[in-house]
């Protein structure tokens, strides 16, 4: 294990990609894991009418988003009726302060956490640590990543960048377990370590997969039981979620759940599905005495204002887009330098961090369409990547932070030349050095192309010329 804590930023995407591409361990870990996930997903959907199910999933999410402001108010009212205290946070910092205040009001020193990408997005652990509150991750992958002082490299499988030997070494170094390849031994050791911490925790923090407006129910999907422990053992449970996770009715949940588990891990069902509908009642013997819900905006309501970008908020966080992304598969999650990596990150993070920080993310896609093809709620991810490219170069609506940051005189001039040539057919035809001229339009030299490939040779005669000869009945091949 590297001694120094590595930090990754979206601005250093190219350097980080270079490092990852040159790291055989990273390449192998991701390729194997993604191949496995793709094949499991394919198998588990094989006897389903997937297109109909995706259409249903998309429609449920679209309907929820269409009514989002009303549904959030309904959710708040129904949660409160169930005894859940509801808090609103405009951004990550405010959400952290709300959670810290709740912790401090209980003199909490130890927080146990279930998996929550929103808590990663707002850097909750760092914030609590600064307030002298220890936050411990209880999802096994998150636990390993935290032990190793890293961040998740995947939104569903946070430690997917690590193989068995690396995990063994981390556990040995940080917790004193034996070095082994025995996965059951390591899992049992982690379970034992965590079990004590659940019992000692003052507060449990979890995420939310679906928040049901109709009933005020918080649904939590997980496999390890740590989510159930986090939300039931400590006396206080704080659920934190983005405002887009609301669905209208309880009956909307089964189709989304079916899509989520199959798309994410290729499972028909997860081991645990928790439906949280309030704190312990007077006649109940267990469960938290207090349940809080923190609804985080953090840029989402700004995305919501734009009828195209809005589709970003359909996401149910399954990770299938990254599992199928040929770029993610090769560079891994840390290379993106953002909480959410891969295609969903590239369309979401620019709204949170601005296009100046994230300008290499929307272009880090060949637009192959694999992400859009597998998205269980049919987010048109390639179209949204192109939309953000348009914003980056200042030809969009200008409503994404950092819009226009990539607009350069040189590149604009190149595209204007392309436009001129392609709208002047006579010049296009006459231009004997056509290929050479178009190569000069590329944003940088042809160098990167020919480092790895032989450059194509411009043909002696263009198709325009060949067609003329063909019409005259001459020059046949």
């Amino acid at each position: 294990m590297s001694a120094a804590v590595q930090t990754f930023t979206p601005k250093a995407f190219h350097r980080q990609a270079h490092d990852a591409l040159g790291n055989p361990q990273i390449r192998d870990n991701f390729r194997r894991a993604m191949d496995g996930l793709m094949s499991k997903r394919r198998d588990v959907f094989s006897d389903w009418d997937l297109e109909t199910l995706r259409e249903l999933g998309a429609n449920i999410r679209l309907r929820a988003l269409a009514k989002l402001p009303d549904l959030l108010e309904q959710l708040e009212a129904n949660c409160q009726a169930n005894g859940i205290r509801v808090h609103w946070a405009a951004d990550g910092d405010e959400a952290c302060r709300i959670i810290r205040d709740i912790c401090e009001s209980h003199d909490a020193r130890a927080v146990i956490k279930g998996k929550s990408m929103v808590s990663e997005e707002m850097h909750l652990n760092d914030h609590l640590e600064q307030a002298g509150i220890e936050a411990l991750e209880s999802d096994l992958g998150e636990y390993l990543v935290q032990l190793n002082q890293q961040t998740p490299s995947h939104i569903i499988m946070p430690a997917i960048h690590l193989n068995t030997d690396e995990i063994s070494e981390i556990m040995h170094t940080k917790t004193g377990t034996e070095r082994t390849r025995d996965v059951d031994y390591m899992t049992a050791a982690a379970r034992q370590q965590l079990r004590e911490r659940f019992m000692a925790a003052d507060v449990g923090v979890s995420g939310v997969n679906f928040a049901v407006a109709e009933t005020g129910t918080l649904c939590l999907v997980e496999n390890e039981g740590n989510g159930r422990m986090t939300t039931t053992v400590p006396p206080v449970h704080i659920a934190v979620t983005g405002i887009e996770k609301v669905v209208e009715q309880l009956r909307d949940v089964p189709p989304l759940y079916a899509l989520l588990t199959r798309s994410a891990t290729g499972q028909h069902v997860t081991t645990y599905f928790n439906m949280i509908s309030g704190p312990r009642k007077a006649d109940e013997h267990d469960g938290p005495r207090e349940v809080h819900l923190v609804l985080v905006d953090n840029g989402r309501s700004s995305i919501y204002q734009d009828d195209e970008l809005l589709d970003t908020l359909r996401c149910i966080r399954c990770g299938a887009c990254m599992n199928h992304c040929p770029v993610y598969t090769r560079v891994g999650g840390h290379t993106y330098g953002t909480t959410y990596p891969g295609p969903i990150g590239s369309i979401l993070m620019p709204h949170m961090l601005g296009l100046e920080e994230t300008k290499d993310l929307p272009t880090a896609s060949s637009l192959c369409g694999a992400c859009g093809e597998v998205c269980p709620v049919k987010i048109p991810i390639p179209d949204l990547l192109v939309r953000l490219r348009k914003e980056s170069v200042g030809e969009g609506r200008g409503n994404v932070p950092g819009a226009g940051v990539k607009r350069s005189g040189k590149e604009v001039a190149a595209w204007k030349s392309f436009q001129w040539l392609a709208t002047h057919p006579a010049a296009w035809r006459r231009s004997t050095a056509l290929a050479g001229k178009l190569q000069a339009l590329m944003p940088s030299s042809i160098g990167p192309w020919t480092d790895h490939r032989t450059a194509p040779k411009p043909a002696k005669a263009s198709l325009h010329a060949l067609v003329k000869r063909h019409r005259r009945g001459e020059g046949e091949a």
Binding site: V327, R330, S366, E391, T423, R429, P448, K457
Partner: protein, 251 residues
């Protein structure tokens, strides 16, 4: 997933939009597409004023420039004949993105009319021409890379293989991860050259592992990328546009 498309009866004439990559680098592929269509008794109109569909600017975010380039192509197909494009990438641009690019403008109806008449070449040969092919070539094993635009944007994963299946002496072998991108992606290959070259390296290894000494594609971007990588490695695996391959073996 492309919407279900209803195919017209075989027309008397078609337009051919040759694409800029074919015009500059692979003109024979365009000519072979014309020959295949003409052999079916279809008159091919090649509008002389065609240049580029505008996709490079479009995917780079330069939509104002892309729109002007696209507008210059919209008027080239005045009669109601189908427009055949020997590229899933350019075909997808014209069919899917032209209507988006002109939405709300005076040219929207024209853009929709053009988009609805666009067919990728292999799609047209299979679904409209029901092309018969008589193979005169030697027995051969071949690999095919279907472009991501043809496969996903246009929903045409099967039309290229369907044509190759008509060649009696040709055995099509499928490489591992056949549906994965070759790493071209237009300006992606230039903006992210290292990631792109890692992708094309894997694609060439997969094709080479099939044992085929020859591969075809229906898109010249992928062809330039994959064949360029093989050539750079000094490997004896040759690539060709599927139109040229079909013409060569059946003429």
């Amino acid at each position: 997933m492309a919407p279900v498309k209803l195919y017209p009866p075989r027309p008397e004439k078609v337009y051919l939009f040759g694409t800029c990559l074919i015009d500059m680098f692979y003109p024979e592929a365009g000519l072979d597409a014309i020959r295949l269509l003409e052999r079916e008794g279809i008159e091919v109109i090649f509008p002389d004023d065609q240049t580029c569909c505008g996709q490079p600017a479009y995917t780079s975010g330069y939509h104002d420039e892309a729109r002007e380039v696209a507008r210059a192509q919209l008027g080239l197909f005045p009669d109601p004949w189908p427009i055949v494009v020997p590229s899933g990438s350019c075909g997808g641009m014209m069919r899917t993105h032209y209507p988006q690019l002109f939405a709300g403008s005076v040219d929207e109806a024209l853009a929709r009319d053009v988009a609805e008449r666009v067919f990728e070449l292999t799609e047209f040969l299979v679904h409209v021409c029901h092309l018969p092919l008589e193979d005169h070539g030697e027995p051969e094993t071949i690999a095919m890379h279907t472009s991501c635009s043809a496969r996903r944007e246009m929903g045409l994963a099967d039309t290229g293989p369907a044509l190759l299946a008509k060649l009696g002496q040709v055995e099509l072998v499928e490489q591992v991860r056949a549906s994965e991108c070759c790493g071209f992606g237009g300006t992606f290959a230039v903006r992210h050259p290292e990631v792109s070259s890692a992708m094309v390296e894997d694609k060439t290894q997969a094709i080479e592992a099939t044992g085929a000494k020859h591969f075809v594609t229906s898109d010249c971007g992928c062809l330039m990328n994959i064949a360029g990588r093989f050539a750079h490695q000094g490997k004896d695996v040759k690539g060709e546009h599927i139109a040229s391959y079909l013409w060569r073996r059946t003429s």
